[in-house]
């Protein structure tokens, strides 16, 4: 493997891993702020117990999100320095905003929240919970602004071969971002919902004390998960339409649509090699005309296939890579405009499939626990705990689909606007030695793997302990005012 492939694997592994922690942090922090608000308003122990229990899990997860996030920020400069030079004028601003406006608030107020239980007045302490959770939601906006610009560059012009920012408002109001943001936040809530359902349903089934805490958590998690899935469908549909306009090749790749069709059907499932250039070997179960509808809201519209798009892209962006030593082996070679179809086709379906399964499990658990019931079968907790994985998988496949679907570009050309602003992934990578990138790829993967084991171990261990340690609400903290209510 060459430097480009290794750097891509590294970015893929570290990003997918980082994005296991991020949605859980975003979703869980808002839910915890919500339960704490309920506690401050009603004074019920149940809500305090929920705040403390889920808050502690939030912290275990948050630490991992932070440290893996630094890798992401440094990696642009380390492994993708040509990319950083090219896009810095535009891409750097949202990144700096994320740090200055969101991360500072998030980490500072999280510290105040963790250690401030007995130091701060109740309402000020609650405000800290809202400050860090809203900051985590805000951070997603800025980083998605940066990502959406790569999918659909706006608010820039090409000056001396590099994009130059002309309107920050265009970047922050990018149509791609306005669809991707609710989709990502909904995905975060789906994760947090399933997390609550899985753990709380298991606790209910164990019939440990504090049944009211677990019952409320199951309900909260299931409703949040189901509502999130509905929001995912709506925002995902919006994204589909934008993709049809902005990244037609990604659309065709999502369907492995070989030839242009009118009307085009939506393939539910395929047997055979979806990368077959003529689709000869593929047997597909197809809903007629549905893809046309998803693309343009019209059952009769034409959807361009991969073969037509390749011709169109070659005419517009050239059929061969320029002769440039920085392109390595690809210098002067023909450009392959087709993303890896098995990845995009199956990634897209696995995203929707796992998202749907997760929502169904939420509904099932809600039904099974209706009016105080608790199923005694062993499969009940197994189902709920397995459900935790589904939105994580859906998120990962969604990102893998959308990032692989824009290849061979790292910055996709905007078909109607900003002229000349695009970049091939092959041109973005740092000209370093295989040894360097291999070293980082191996060490980061090994360290991340080890930390995943530790995190899961700690979460399981903490979950088993239940909420016994939560004091009654009339006596927050300890009798002895000198002793810290929370200490490492």
């Amino acid at each position: 493997m060459d430097v480009l492939d290794l750097a891509r694997w590294q970015f893929g592994i570290t990003t997918v891993y980082h994005f296991l922690m991020v949605p859980l942090t975003i979703g869980l922090s808002l839910l915890v702020a919500g339960t704490q608000t309920a506690w401050v308003r009603t004074g019920r122990r149940r809500y305090l117990a929920m705040t403390k229990f889920w808050g502690k899990l939030l912290l275990i997860n948050f630490a991992m999100g932070v440290v893996t996030g630094i890798v992401q920020e440094f990696q642009f400069g380390m492994a993708w320095n040509e990319y950083s030079r090219f896009v810095g004028d535009v891409f750097g601003a949202p990144l700096a905003m994320e740090g200055l406006v969101a991360f500072f608030v998030e980490s500072t107020f999280l510290g105040l929240w963790i250690f401030g239980w007995d130091r701060l007045p109740k309402r000020v302490h609650l405000a800290c919970a809202w400050a860090f959770s809203l900051a985590s939601v805000l951070s997603a906006y800025f980083i998605l602004a940066a990502n959406s610009w790569m999918q659909h560059p706006v608010g820039a012009e090409l000056v001396d071969g590099r994009p130059r920012l002309t309107s920050i408002w265009a970047v922050l109001g990018n149509s791609t971002l306005l669809a991707a943001y609710p989709h990502t936040i909904a995905g975060a809530f789906a994760v947090a919902g399933a997390f609550l359902v899985g753990i709380a349903a298991w606790q209910l089934w164990r019939a440990k004390p504090d049944g009211d805490v677990w019952r409320s958590s199951v309900k909260l998690g299931a409703w949040v998960g189901v509502a999130a899935f509905a929001a995912l469908l709506v925002s995902g549909d919006q994204q589909g339409r934008l993709m049809f306009d902005q990244q037609p090749m990604k659309m065709a790749a999502a369907e492995a649509l070989c030839h242009t069709e009118q009307p085009a059907g939506f393939s539910v499932f395929a047997v055979g090699d979806v990368a077959d250039p003529d689709c000869e070997s593929v047997k597909s179960i197809t809903v007629p005309a549905l893809l046309s509808f998803l693309a343009e809201g019209d059952f009769h519209s034409k959807v361009a296939g991969v073969d037509d798009l390749v011709t169109r892209y070659e005419q517009k962006y050239g059929s061969h890579y320029p002769v440039d030593p920085r392109l390595g082996e690809l210098s002067g070679k023909p450009i392959d405009y087709v993303p890896m179809l098995p990845v995009t086709y199956w990634g897209f379906r696995l995203m929707i499939g796992f998202g749907g399964i997760g929502a169904l499990i939420g509904v099932a658990v809600l039904w099974l626990t209706r009016r105080g019931r608790v199923p005694r079968h062993r499969w009940f907790p197994a189902l709920a705990v397995a459900g935790i994985a589904t939105p994580f998988l859906a998120n990962s496949f969604g990102w893998i689909f959308t990032e692989m679907g824009r290849q061979p570009f790292v910055v996709v050309p905007n078909p109607s606007g900003v002229d000349g602003v695009w970049m091939y992934t092959a041109r973005a990578v740092t000209g370093m030695s295989v040894g360097e990138v291999l070293t980082s790829l191996i060490t980061l993967t090994v360290v991340y793997g080890a930390l995943a084991v530790v995190e899961v171990f700690l979460i399981r261990r903490f979950v088993r302990g239940g909420v016994a340690a939560v004091p009654p609400p009339d006596r927050p903290g300890s009798d002895d005012r000198d002793v810290l209510s929370f200490a490492y």
Binding site: R85, F104, F115
Partner: protein, 335 residues
């Protein structure tokens, strides 16, 4: 001052914030098993930085992000050139970050010992790497005409950059010891003060030596004043600590690191990343800066955002201003 120069100064300020704040975090980490002779005193040490270390680390993230946005070529050139040293810094930051969170989660001596090793090693390696990076940046990087590293992967390892590594780590060690003396009570406080007094002359020497090297090679006449301020502030810090005035000693060390940053960035100006291969390859403030529009947007952001950060981070330190002693540590670990 024009916008690019203002942004050069803002980035220097962000590094100052980082070195000052996470400097003592690193020192506390390094001294965890030195000053913390039993489990309770170790927890006293960790809890002096418990609520704040994560917020302190954001200064690094913002320094890197601001460099990316304001001087893309600087960010791209430095970070790729220092690929392996930065990887080590990242691993150190990852390790100590999760270690603080995880060490108390299992009630077992072996578990805690393991994480203590991670905290100590991480808190030592990270400032070593950052010192290496900063001093390499100031003293010069082998850059080709495209702004990429022309030397081998470990080109950053030289005797003068090793001085920089020891300089920043030594400062962090001293800063941490003084911080512990300021933030704790009881035997830990006494031990920290005694250690800081004995340690400071040795631990701060590499930093002063580095600054002398930088001054002699790259400095201008006015940076002599900044260098002098470092030496004076360090001496004042030591004297105030000996007099038992920990707060004043801490403030004097803050002045020393501020003067250090002024010396380093003053020597760097008007370059952002000088090349040792050919002066023509050096990246300058003017050539590397982003467009005036981007810098204007960023300036608004910094003008509105930075004061707010200073206010609420100061408030955090105010909320947790009490000294911590063994009596404050709850018996049971937080589950």
């Amino acid at each position: 001052m024009d916008l690019p120069t203002i942004w050069f100064a803002i980035i220097a300020l962000l590094w100052l914030g980082y070195l000052f704040l996470e400097g003592f975090d690193f020192g506390v980490g390094m001294l965890l098993r030195v000053l913390g002779r039993d489990e309770v005193s170790r927890r006293v040490l960790i809890n002096t930085i418990g609520p704040v270390w994560d917020g302190n680390e954001v200064w690094l993230i913002v320094a890197a992000g601001a460099t990316f946005a304001a001087f893309p070529g600087w960010y791209a050139g430095l970070f790729s050139a220092a690929y392996l040293p930065l990887l080590l810094v990242l691993l150190a930051l990852i390790g100590r970050g999760v270690a603080f969170e995880y060490r108390g989660k299992v009630d077992s001596a072996r578990w805690r010992d393991t994480w203590d090793v991670v905290i100590t090693a991480g808190s030592l390696i990270a400032p070593l790497g950052i010192g290496l990076l900063l001093s390499w940046n100031v003293l010069g990087v082998p850059l080709d005409a495209a702004g990429n590293r022309a030397g081998p992967p470990l080109a950053a390892l030289r005797w003068d950059t090793l001085l920089g590594a020891l300089g920043v780590a030594g400062f962090a060690l001293t800063h941490g010891a003084v911080f512990i003396a300021l933030k704790t009570d009881g035997p830990v406080r006494v031990r920290a003060r005694r250690l800081a007094l004995r340690l400071a002359p040795v631990a701060l020497a590499p930093l002063v030596a580095l600054l002398l090297v930088v001054q002699l090679r790259e400095g201008s006449s006015w940076t002599w004043f900044a260098l002098g301020a470092v030496a004076v502030a360090a001496a004042v810090s030591w004297l105030r600590l000996r007099a038992g005035r920990e707060g004043q000693a801490f403030a004097a060390l803050a002045t020393a690191i501020a003067a250090t940053v002024v010396t380093l960035f003053g020597a760097l100006y008007p370059d952002v990343l000088p090349s040792t291969v050919d002066p023509a390859n050096s990246l300058t403030i003017a050539e590397t800066a982003s467009s005036p529009y981007t810098l204007t947007v960023m300036t608004w952001l910094a003008a509105l955002g930075t004061p707010a950060v200073l206010v609420y981070q100061s408030w955090t330190y105010w909320v947790f201003r009490k000294r911590i002693s063994a009596a404050h540590i709850p018996e049971v670990h937080a589950p």
